[in-house]
């Protein structure tokens, strides 16, 4: 059964994207198809997770070519878990976008949103499932090409300027990725990750270190790691809210996933890389959150918290122990859900007040009390207030960090706690400026691109509904925290003992 199921999360959205272009004039049909496709992907991801958790990694060799020559798709616990979470988040954001009307492409004659969104979903699924380095590059490109269109969807001056930065930086990362693949192939003669893991053992230590560092730079750009993060807060906030939400939640996490996969599989016991990752984790956490503190724009503030919290995942990866990786995976799941939710709510706020500037808004809780709660819950979770999921994930990471004992790990523990407090300050300040105080007069931004008349527009129920669902999903992470932590611990166990993965792929 896995032979049929495993390629479907990639194939289904791609087919649907093609059909979606053909159905450009039938908006209702297009929407229905996108929703059904992503729902189907979520179901398949659930089944794959169950298979991976009970019977071990599921593997399919595409085209029937055996592993080192052909392309393998692999769903182990880590891939399947992230695939499931991504599919659910993609679905929630799609409903939100349909509610908002971004999906209808107000300005363009053809509704390009749905096809691009589906291609994006296919790229993300492919990145999670592939067991081949070059295929990972193709997955990144599929994902990025869709994201280029989505980020410049409105085609206004601000979007083009931000999109330019985004495209150039992504393209540079892609060139570096091709370079890295060339170097890996020259050193090992393979691009299959399982095969490369075996052959890298015979490669000299210095060459291995270079390969590890080049791959780290490539995925570091995608994941917005210090000092390669400056493109993110520059480009994300100008996109339409649902697009920003899905980018912030998922695209950087695909980079984090690639780091997790390559560092644990290809360079399992490199002390140097581990130290570098820990140092980068500290800098990413601290610099990111310091950037968030001074922002006046809600979406930019949230973008900086994305950067900052990537540091937590690097922290877990840098520890390179089962406990550290379990914490990193749990943190990734938590952050995908919570960060996406925050951007969705920020979109609701912007829709209500016409601006995302903190200074020019205020007192929204008198007008929209529900919105105040919807923002507060994920914000507190992001800062790590018990018993929300952010607290549990941070607790796991801190325990692993304290148990590690290296000075750098201890530094990272301190930085993580400080960042957590500063996050509370940053998101709390945003809450009090937007929701607290006297009701501010509505002064919409002059360069608003969505064309919504703030004074008369009502927030569509579907938008609020999708945001509520996302908030409830974030709370549900706390409810299922026990089994979820068990699952991430088993996934981390797989990562520290990559032999099983290698055997299953190369069999």
């Amino acid at each position: 059964m896995t032979r049929v199921l495993l390629p479907l999360p990639v194939v289904l959205p791609l087919l649907a994207a093609g059909l979606s272009i053909a159905l450009g004039r039938h908006r209702q049909l297009q929407r229905l198809m996108s929703v059904l496709t992503l729902a189907a992907v979520a179901c398949i991801a659930g089944v794959l997770l169950r298979i991976a958790d009970t019977t071990g990694p599921a593997v399919v060799q595409l085209g029937g070519w055996a592993a080192p020559a052909g392309i393998s798709l692999v769903a182990d616990r880590l891939s399947a878990l992230l695939l499931l979470v991504s599919a659910l988040v993609l679905l929630a954001v799609l409903l939100y976008a349909i509610g908002q009307g971004t999906a209808d492409g107000r300005r363009s004659a053809v509704a390009v949103f749905h096809p691009c969104y589906l291609v994006l979903a296919a790229g993300i699924a492919m990145a999670f499932l592939t067991g081949d380095l070059f295929n990972l590059f193709v997955a990144f490109e599929v994902m990025l090409v869709a994201s280029y269109v989505l980020i410049t969807l409105d085609g206004g001056a601000a979007q083009v300027r931000a999109g330019m930065t985004y495209v150039v930086v992504s393209l540079l990362a892609s060139v570096l990725f091709v370079t890295a693949i060339g170097l890996v192939y020259a050193a090992t003669g393979t691009v299959n990750m399982a095969d490369a893991a075996v052959r890298l053992a015979d490669v000299p230590e210095g060459v291995r270190l270079v390969l590890g560092l080049v791959l780290m730079v490539v995925f570091g750009i995608k994941a917005a790691v210090f000092p390669l993060f400056s493109w993110l807060p520059d480009s994300y906030p100008t996109a339409p809210s649902p697009v920003t939400a899905v980018f912030a939640g998922l695209l950087t996490k695909v980079g984090v996933y690639a780091l997790l996969r390559t560092q644990t599989l290809l360079f399992p016991d490199s002390r140097v890389l581990s130290q570098v990752l820990l140092a980068l984790a500290v800098l990413t956490m601290v610099v990111g959150i310091l950037g968030a503190l001074v922002q006046d724009d809600l979406k930019r503030l949230l973008s900086f918290t994305v950067v900052s919290h990537i540091g937590y995942m690097l922290f877990g990866l840098g520890l390179a122990t089962a406990a550290g990786l379990a914490g990193a995976i749990l943190y990734t799941v938590h952050h995908i859900v919570v960060q996406t939710t925050l951007f969705l709510v920020a979109g609701l706020v912007e829709r209500r007040t016409g601006t995302s500037s903190l200074q020019r808004s205020g007192g929204l809780q008198h007008v929209a009390p529900v919105l105040a709660v919807l923002y507060l819950l994920p914000a507190l979770s992001l800062a790590g207030i018990p018993p929300l999921s952010g607290f549990l994930a941070k607790l796991g990471l801190l325990q692993a960090g304290v148990a590690d004992g290296r000075p750098l790990a201890a530094t990272a523990v301190v930085a993580a706690i400080a960042t957590s407090l500063l996050t509370l300050y940053a998101v709390g300040r945003a809450w009090s400026e937007v929701f607290w105080g006297p009701v501010a007069a509505v002064v919409p931004d002059a360069d608003r691109s969505d064309g919504v008349d703030v004074a008369t527009a009502r927030t569509p129920r579907l938008m609020t509904g999708a945001a509520v669902t996302a908030v409830v999903g974030g709370l549900a992470l706390t409810v299922v925290a026990g089994p979820l932590y068990g699952l991430t611990a088993r996934a981390a166990e797989d990562l520290v003992t990559p032999d099983r993965y290698v055997q299953v792929v190369l069999r």
């Binding site: 193709v138 083009v160 300027r161 495209v167 150039v168 393209l171 892609s174 006046d296 724009d297």
Partner: protein, 133 residues
């Protein structure tokens, strides 16, 4: 593995010139720079397959022996070339759109960035700071 010194030098040259052009402010230069960088990367990938050899056709005479070119990097380069081509076309369209909108070919500064850099401290924060002093 034997290498070809001319190809190696050419790869280095493409990376150098590409990096230089990427650091310019004019969009067209950035696009050309990225194109050159892409060529450099593809050339590197091509060289990773080892020395050139006879065509690796299935069933061709002499296929089992040495001297057959490694087909995998060539296939990968082909994929990478197509992707770079498509993205460059998109980038050019974006550069044109930017020129239509702003009448300029230069990368614009981020307005919000400049605003944050110039922003004065919050009046209340300032007062509290002076009280502490």
């Amino acid at each position: 593995m034997t290498g070809n010194i001319v190809l190696a030098l050419l790869t280095g040259l493409l990376y150098t010139v590409g990096t230089y052009l990427l650091l310019q402010r004019t969009l067209v230069r950035i696009v050309i720079g990225l194109g050159l960088l892409g060529h450099g990367a593809n050339l590197l990938l091509l060289q990773s397959g080892g020395p050139p050899g006879i065509a690796p056709f299935s069933g061709a005479p002499g296929l089992a022996g040495d001297g057959v070119a490694d087909p995998l990097p060539q296939a990968m380069v082909l994929t990478a070339v197509v992707i770079t081509f498509a993205v460059s076309a998109f980038l050019l369209a974006l550069a044109y759109r930017s020129w239509v909108l702003t009448g300029d070919d230069e990368v614009q500064d981020d307005v919000e960035d400049a605003r944050v850099a110039q922003a004065r401290p919050h009046p209340h924060a300032h007062a509290a700071w002076e009280e502490e002093l």
